[in-house]
């Protein structure tokens, strides 16, 4: 108190201390109110690819904080999928015919078009429950369960996570694991890997028997075990960072039973379409870093993830958001948040857009699914949110997602040189969220 330089800081320090004591005008009230009331978030999202898949997804999330900082979180998700997605075959200069996955019918693709299968119409319901509670000073335990059901798919999962705080809660270590058991019963059963797709007339008397010859079984399973190690550190009053390492082991049926690979001759003309085959295990690892920085009023969120696995896929993801508060400009406490995401992945070791007949013997695994091929994708979006009724938040999000698969150095042959082997996929995403 004797030196004058110290004095200048006292009023500022007290302002900060007072703010910490009283909290912002919302959270200090919320601190006593939130303890006994449910916080509900409801959202609806619409996803639509040009000429391909469309999906609608609705989420209701309910969270309640009890005394002693225990939190219960319940979430219900419903989504439906329609439209068509690429079946893995290459385009041809002639009309092509493919058999539906169920075996009950064929569909035709025009010349020069990328083959798309429009059989996919599915609705899925998912339930999640998560319980979090402190189990000792600075130790927090969280555990939860997951159930997801769609017409041909059942997924059951559990997870648990322990977080430990240090140094006035400035540092936090966490370790968690999760286990999922999925059962897949695709319509038409599981096809024999690498066997030829049967093309013909499904009204034929021999069809059913011939079709079942191409089937391996009616269903199959896979398990996913994840380990996650995390470290969070408060850097200063404006900045916090997080670093994660995760290891994931997937075992079981990992092939996509609906996807095929075109077998072509030396001129690029399709001779046959065979069902794809992926390895029965996949070990993935990832390193993730995120930082949040609070400027005078804006908040910047930037993260980077590097993933690599034993299929030879490696990917980089950079994701960033900037939240810009608008004050009471367009509604109460409104904000706008631009979003940019950049993604790049390398192809799986067994990925091929097509295969030459002469190369087929000896192949163990192959897939033409562009989603495990070489690809670059970017997302640009904008979100707008505002408070209504003083406390409830309404927000709108619009995003544009473009996926650009690339060949990865493999040369097309013959007629394939004049066809689009790696079509770009564009999608628009729209979302409305209401929290109360």
């Amino acid at each position: 108190m004797k030196s004058t330089t110290n004095n200048k800081n006292i009023k500022a320090a007290l302002t900060v201390a007072t703010a910490a004591l009283l909290g912002t005008s919302h959270s200090s009230q919320a601190q006593t109110a939130e303890e006994d009331s449910w916080q509900i978030d409801s959202a609806f999202l619409y996803y639509s690819e040009t000429d391909r898949v469309s999906a609608g997804e609705a989420i209701i999330n309910a969270q309640k904080t009890f005394e002693d900082e225990e939190v219960l979180n319940l979430k219900l998700t419903i989504d439906t999928l329609t439209g068509s997605s690429a079946n893995g075959a290459v385009a041809q200069p002639t009309v092509q015919t493919f058999t539906r996955p169920s075996g009950n019918g064929q569909y035709q693709i025009n010349e020069n078009d990328t083959p798309l299968d429009d059989t996919f119409k599915d609705t899925r319901v998912q339930l999640n429950a998560q319980w979090t509670q402190p189990i000792a000073a600075d130790y927090t335990l969280s555990t939860g369960g997951h159930l997801s059901k769609e017409y041909d798919y059942l997924s059951l999962g559990i997870n648990a996570n322990l977080a430990v705080d240090f140094d006035r809660k400035n540092s936090t270590f966490s370790a968690g694991f999760s286990f999922f058991h999925d059962t897949f019963s695709p319509e038409g059963g599981i096809p024999k890997p690498l066997s030829s797709m049967l093309i013909g007339d499904n009204n034929d008397s021999n069809w059913d028997e011939n079709f079942s010859q191409t089937r391996l079984s009616s269903d199959d399973t896979k398990t996913t075990t994840d380990f996650l190690l995390g470290f969070t550190q408060v850097i200063n009053r404006r900045m916090i960072m997080q670093f994660n390492y995760s290891y994931s082991m997937v075992d079981g049926y990992l092939t996509d039973p609906f996807k095929i690979v075109s077998v072509v001759n030396s001129n690029g003309i399709t001779q046959d379409n065979i069902y794809e085959s992926r390895p029965s295990s996949r070990a993935k690892q990832s390193l993730y870093a995120q930082s949040m920085y609070h400027f005078e009023t804006n908040v910047l969120d930037v993260s980077y993830r590097y993933m690599w696995d034993d299929w030879d896929i490696a990917s980089h993801t950079i994701d960033s958001r900037l939240r810009i508060p608008l004050g009471d400009l367009w509604g109460k406490e409104s904000y706008v948040q631009p979003h940019a995401r950049f993604y790049q992945q390398s192809a799986a070791e067994f990925y091929r857009a097509f295969i030459q007949k002469s190369d087929v013997t000896g192949i163990e695994h192959i897939s033409a699914d562009y989603r495990i091929g070489e690809m670059t994708a970017y997302t640009l979006g904008l979100k707008f949110g505002t408070l209504i009724n003083g406390e409830n938040e309404l927000s709108f999000r619009l995003e544009y997602y473009r996926q650009t698969p690339t060949g990865g150095g493999r040369e097309p042959i013959g007629v394939l040189n004049d066809l689009e082997l790696y079509p770009t996929v564009d999608a628009v995403i729209g979302q409305v969220t209401y929290s109360f």
Binding site: D167, D182, L287, A289, Q345
Partner: protein, 76 residues
Amino acid sequence: MSFSQKIKTALLVMLVVSFSGCANLGVEPWERDLLAKKEMALNASPVDSALDDHIYFSKEASSGGKSFGGGGCGCN
């Protein structure tokens, strides 16, 4: 060193550096006014994250990183 090995090393170095600098980092409990805001939470919009994760899990070969990337649906 291959490119991917360089990335892994760089990230590990970042981790170690942040560990060693820990003694000087952090804030007092009464300096948490900004950090306590909802928008400063590391997962500030969990509903948006869940929806986005589902989209990217279905359309790309990577998942998780921020949280568990496990199974969950046949959307692939």
